[in-house]
């Protein structure tokens, strides 16, 4: 699944480690989600959406 995580993160000038700290996950998790290697669970997707104050479908896109 594609996502806009890297762009949204870059807009806020956050590193992967910064985002990982805010989400309370590992930096490897952020990297895996950004590169599309791993699709987050619904709770984590909601957490990400909440952090960026956006809807899930505005961050995670259909292929």
């Amino acid at each position: 699944m594609k996502n806009r995580l890297k762009v949204l993160r870059a807009e806020r000038d956050w590193s992967q480690a910064d985002l990982a700290e805010r989400l309370k996950v590992s930096r490897q998790s952020v990297n895996a989600i950004e590169t599309g290697k791993y699709d987050p669970s619904l709770p984590l997707a909601f957490k990400i959406a909440g952090l960026f104050d956006m809807a899930i479908e505005d961050i995670f896109l259909k292929e």
């Binding site: 480690a17 590992s26 998790s29 990297n31 791993y38 669970s41």
Partner: protein
Amino acid sequence: MNQTDERGQQAPKQAIPPSMKRYFWRIAIFMIAYMAILIGGLSLKNSANPPEGIFAYALAILTALPICGVFWAVFRLLVEMEDEYQRFLVAKQIMIATAVTLCAATIWQFLNVYDLAQEGPQWLGVLWLVMFGIAGGIVRWRA
């Protein structure tokens, strides 16, 4: 060792999660217990008066229990891991180890059926643990 993120900056070293700390402690305790029981048990077995009957059975099972504890520690790690992506990687690691062990056991068993191997599958638990270690490297290398 700190890793470098995509901006070329040194990512801060992440603390070891509590679930991993508990896992390492559990593994250390079970391995120390295993070594102590194994050395003591083999010394008894090779002594002038080796245990017999129910005592021999008890000693054999007692030696196996710490290894069973290692399996328990691995599956508890899967339950307790805080990070869902890391949990996903450990689940993959377990699946690879299980698949390879079951394939090896099946092939070995049929070699035995066709009289091409002297004995049937043995030490499958140890094989699983070795494969679990190897799979860990593969899964994280590909992650």
